[in-house]
Symmetry: C2
Subunit: 115 residues, 2 copies
């Protein structure tokens, strides 16, 4: 299993590298190219992605579970089907309140995730 | 229920407009801003998104179901967790083979979806 190549058209879930993360359960880098990157993250209750920012636009889409999301100091509980928009350099963090899975989308792609 | 506003941070699934589409079941425009847009599409078996192209980079992530995806004439069956990368102007179409749900991501945003 490995991270997909840049611009790889077909990215099968079972083929991609599973990364164990310092503060949450698993990360999978999925399809990406210059303009955009799709990343799947899995959290257990109490795990978190700590307060940070980046120049990429980000959208998070919740597939399963529940998350306490903080964008620029405003908190919301989000669940399946909810999505969150983060403008470039918007500070954000997320704490998992029920075990779940999210898709994080970045535009442009996160070069730092595949270096 | 209405489409979210551009740059709206919090987009709750239950608040967004459900659109019945000519060739597939339902579309929901979710979070978006200038750089990126997230769209949820629901298909019944046999429904399709016909052969087309656009200048936006697209990634499709499959949440549920099974789809016969065609990118530039190459077919693959994709299912939950699989993702597909479409470069700008890559022709593509999708036919649903088991009822399901996908997330379509576009960079930059699809202005034509919210005009």
């Amino acid at each position: 299993m490995k991270k997909p190549d840049k611009g790889q058209i077909w990215v099968k879930h079972g083929d991609v590298l599973v990364e164990n993360m310092p503060t949450w359960h698993e990360r999978r880098i999925l399809a990406y190219g210059e303009g955009m990157m799709c990343v799947e993250n899995i959290f257990e209750s109490g795990e978190k992605a700590p307060w940070h920012e980046h120049f990429h636009t980000q959208i998070t889409y919740v597939i399963e579970g529940e998350f306490d999301f903080n964008v620029e100091g405003e908190h919301q509980l989000v669940g399946p089907g909810d999505s969150v928009f983060m403008a470039p350099h918007a500070y954000h963090e997320v704490i998992c309140t029920k075990p779940g899975k999210v898709i994080d989308l970045f535009a442009p792609m996160r070069d730092d995730f595949v270096e």
